[in-house]
């Protein structure tokens, strides 16, 4: 195989950080090259240099035997380098077709050839197995479907290099298989692909080679057959992680959250119970109604029938203020939209839901706020130079930790975690798992919605499976398998 691209001694610094330090490796034609590392290891920076969004301080990039000079987003795209970003880069008010061709419209003279765009877009969507009209506005798509549109965007032009940045973090298992089918198809066509993921098990399924970055340095590049998952984890973390899924929980106590025969728009007759000191997993496909149940239970969405009991008491005329007071917290799936005010600082985000508790006299006590926030920043290992840093500048994993800090501060006893580790690295995952475990150990009841089956099996005591808006099964985590859960998850879809 011939090399299509090579990085040669790339370095890049930002004020206060050396994001990339003398990084060199290459990409072959028709290769899936996985790049792994913790958040802040430099993966995204390297890819942004490749895409022309950033310029390297020193070093060269050789593409098809020639050095890329004066790289820019436009130049790299003209060369055939396409990015699929982790944070969705779609314009909600435009149609799928217009999004796919944004900045590279098919033109007839001055005018955009919308007919041709729609036609090409339909072909790309069909290749992805998506039966959606190209004229659908993106704002009407689920996050999962939006991600697939991003991939369609890259497919619609003849890409030579594709960069996937966390492509599967918002996809369900069936969608992931679909994605892998497409990746294999592209591989056969000779497209070189960088594949950034925190789900290490995926690398063994789809990757040819793997490169590990840590603190901006190139640690290793090797063929996937020559490495083990533990070897990669150690290379990423730079230390040994003894147990990814901690279990130090004690006895299970009284029911803390009871949902009885709850019915709403997207789910019917859902009943479940979470007890003191217990972590209960909720598995299912995207669209199975899991997040909707959580939102209804928390009082964000209305439900038609049924009841929700928190700590044994029925919550009537449900709203988030009441459920919070009753001791329940929801840590939402969509950090950006629902969990954080991105333009506010870590401190402000952390205290925003707990101003009353922190300031009983209704006067803001800045000192107490700062002390409390610092305590949680330490406890959760939040990597930041200051608690006054605006959350929009934090990495995904760190943002998720700030969301956690915000809800932990409230001293709730019932927690619903919706996709708690989506898009964050192994090290950060581990610390979030440890935290959940500690909460359960102290008697909290935790309901965890997750699309990652290893996480569901690793963390849960019991597991509910939802499909088509109904609870279709309940298992003890110790005597079930991924296969059993998947089978049920598809049963009603």
């Amino acid at each position: 195989m011939e090399e299509i691209l090579s990085f040669d001694k790339i370095s890049k610094s930002f004020p206060g950080v050396r994001a990339l330090d003398d990084v060199s490796f290459g990409l072959m034609r028709g290769e899936v090259h996985a790049i792994v590392g913790e958040n802040g290891a430099g993966k995204s920076t390297l890819m942004k240099i490749l895409s022309g969004a950033y310029t390297a301080d020193t070093g060269r990039m050789i593409f098809e035997g020639r050095e890329i000079v004066n790289n820019s987003p436009k130049l790299s795209r003209d060369l055939g380098i396409q990015m699929i970003y982790q944070e969705l880069n779609l314009v909600p008010e435009l149609s799928i077709a217009s999004n796919i061709f944004l900045g590279q419209e098919l033109k007839q003279g001055l005018f955009v050839n919308k007919g041709e765009q729609v036609k090409r877009c339909r072909e790309a969507l069909q290749e992805l197995g998506l039966n959606i009209s190209p004229n659908t506005l993106v704002k009407n798509l689920s996050i999962g479907a939006q991600q697939l549109v991003e991939i369609g965007k890259a497919l619609s032009v003849n890409a030579k290099i594709l960069v996937f940045d966390e492509p599967t973090s918002s996809l369900t298992d069936s969608e992931i298989q679909e994605l892998f089918r497409i990746i294999r198809m592209l591989k056969a066509r000779g497209v070189g692909m960088f594949y950034i993921s925190h789900r290490l098990d995926e690398l063994f399924e789809i990757g040819d080679r793997v490169t590990v970055l840590r603190d901006g340095k190139h640690i290793m590049t090797d063929r996937i057959e020559n490495v083990t998952i533990n070897g990669i984890i150690e290379a990423i973390a730079g230390r040994k992680i003894e147990n990814l899924y901690p279990r130090n929980r004690g006895e299970v106590g009284a029911p803390m959250l009871e949902i009885n025969h709850l019915s709403g728009e997207a789910f019917q007759d859902v009943s479940l119970v979470v007890r003191e000191g217990e972590i209960v997993g909720m598995a299912g496909l995207i669209g199975a109604g899991r997040s909707e149940v959580a939102k209804a239970a928390f009082g964000i969405d209305k439900y038609k029938a049924g009841e929700v009991k928190i700590g044994g008491k029925t919550v009537s005329r449900h709203n988030p203020q009441k459920t919070k007071k009753a001791g329940m917290s929801l840590i939402p799936e969509n950090r950006k939209l629902e969990g954080l005010a991105l333009s506010l600082s870590i401190r402000e985000n952390t205290v925003i839901a707990n101003l009353q508790a922190l300031n009983p006299t209704s006067m803001i006590n800045r000192k107490r706020e700062e002390d409390t926030v610092k305590e949680y920043v330490d406890k959760l290992n939040i990597a930041t130079s200051s608690i006054e840093k605006r959350t929009m500048f934090l990495s995904g994993g760190t943002q998720q930790k700030v969301v956690l800090a915000k809800w932990l501060l409230g001293k709730s006893q019932v927690f619903i975690f919706d996709e708690p580790t989506r898009g964050i690295d192994v090290g950060a995952k581990n610390s979030i798992y440890e935290l959940m475990d500690e909460l359960a150990n102290r008697g909290a009841a935790i309901l965890m919605i997750s699309s990652e089956l290893p996480e569901i099996l690793g963390m849960s005591d019991r597991i509910y499976v939802m499909s088509g808006g109904q609870v279709v099964g309940e298992f003890n985590a110790s005597d079930t398998t991924q296969h059993q859960i998947l089978e049920l998850a598809f049963s009603n879809a």
Partner: protein, 342 residues
């Protein structure tokens, strides 16, 4: 299936459609002289300037900016054109000078917003003040008028009627489509064509939704933004020309507050002050809604202080209708998209 298709189209209409229809029908029923050819053609000609400004404003809002200099530019360009005419310049030259000066202000807006990173709200507000001061200084705050031309020229041509049809004896039954109205419709049609058929539209939405997305897609935010402000300045200058020709003289404060009316029309039409969404036809219908209310009120001789109450209520009702329609449209499309995505 067909009923579903129809309902999709209904929710795809610009936001202000419903309130416009309500107001228009109500005015036609309640006010006797409202729905007459003469009044409708007067109303449309009166609304020309605000329709042009609302078009400019809605594009600025969609790209995540705002242009509060529009009113000042209307005054300034009007004064420049009127004073050149008074000085005996050829009408075509006077108009050209007005249009150019409007575009220069737009360009300065663009430079200040994109290069100097001044928030558009402040940059354009300041620029509007400067433009209005130029208008006041040049005209010494007095109405500018010029000698009526002795022969047919561009000015008389533009001030004429394109089409006059008599439906009856009185003025109310004379339909007169002014050249200004035809010109305004033509210009708006060109803007719509550019917006929906070239990359202008999608780039505007992309800039408004997320500037970084636009940049990553290879769109140059600074260039497009500056271009849009230049276009807005051009449309404001056309509005200044329309007002000048319609009133056959120019009162230097004519543009005052027009920018806020344009914001109101645009927001009523579904534009968001946060950018990234909205529509030009919606903004234009918003402008027509404002003029319909005002026209109907003045025809029925209602006290001016009551007029403001009615306009205020119309706006609030209009926005509530928007919310309701949007809510149901979102619910429906969510349900549909959900089925397909799985």
């Amino acid at each position: 299936m067909t009923s579903q298709k129809r309902s999709v189209r209904l929710s795809g209409l610009p936001n202000s459609t419903y309130i416009f229809i309500i107001v228009f029908v109500a005015a036609s029923i309640i006010v006797p002289l409202f729905f007459t050819p003469g009044n409708i053609s007067t109303l449309l000609t009166q609304a020309c300037a605000l329709m042009l400004l609302s078009t400019a404003m809605s594009v600025c809002l969609m790209m995540g900016g705002i242009d509060l200099s529009l009113g000042g530019v209307v005054s300034m360009t009007g004064v420049i054109m009127a004073m050149l005419l008074r000085g005996g310049a050829a009408p075509s030259l006077a108009i050209l000078a007005g249009l150019l000066s409007g575009m220069v202000v737009g360009f300065l807006n663009g430079v200040v917003v994109t290069r100097m990173k001044v928030p558009s709200f402040i940059a354009t507000f300041g620029m509007g003040g400067i433009a209005q001061s130029i208008a006041n200084t040049l005209s010494e705050k007095r109405t500018v008028s010029w000698a009526a031309p002795t022969e047919t020229n561009l000015l008389t041509l533009l001030g004429d009627n394109a089409l006059t049809v008599q439906f009856g004896d009185s003025a109310a039954y004379t339909l007169s489509i002014s050249v200004l109205l035809v010109l305004t419709i033509f210009i708006i049609a060109v803007v719509l064509l550019l917006f929906y058929r070239t990359t202008l539209g999608s780039n505007t939405y992309a800039l408004g939704a997320n500037e970084e997305t636009a940049r990553l897609a290879g769109i140059s935010p600074n260039r497009w933004k500056t271009g849009i402000y230049v276009g807005a300045g051009f449309l404001a200058a056309i509005a200044g020309m329309v007002l000048m020709i319609r009133t056959n003289s120019l009162q230097p404060m004519i543009g005052e507050n027009l920018e806020f009316q344009a914001v109101v029309a645009a927001v009523l039409g579904g534009n968001s002050l946060k950018g990234g969404k909205g529509s030009i036809p919606g903004a234009i219908l918003g402008a027509l809604t404002l003029f319909t209310v005002r026209n109907a009120m003045s025809l029925s001789g209602v006290n001016t202080s009551v007029v403001m109450v009615v306009i205020g209520c119309t706006l609030i009702v209009g926005m509530v209708i928007n919310e309701v329609v949007q809510y149901y449209a979102a619910e429906k499309s969510k349900a549909r998209a959900g089925i397909h995505a799985l």
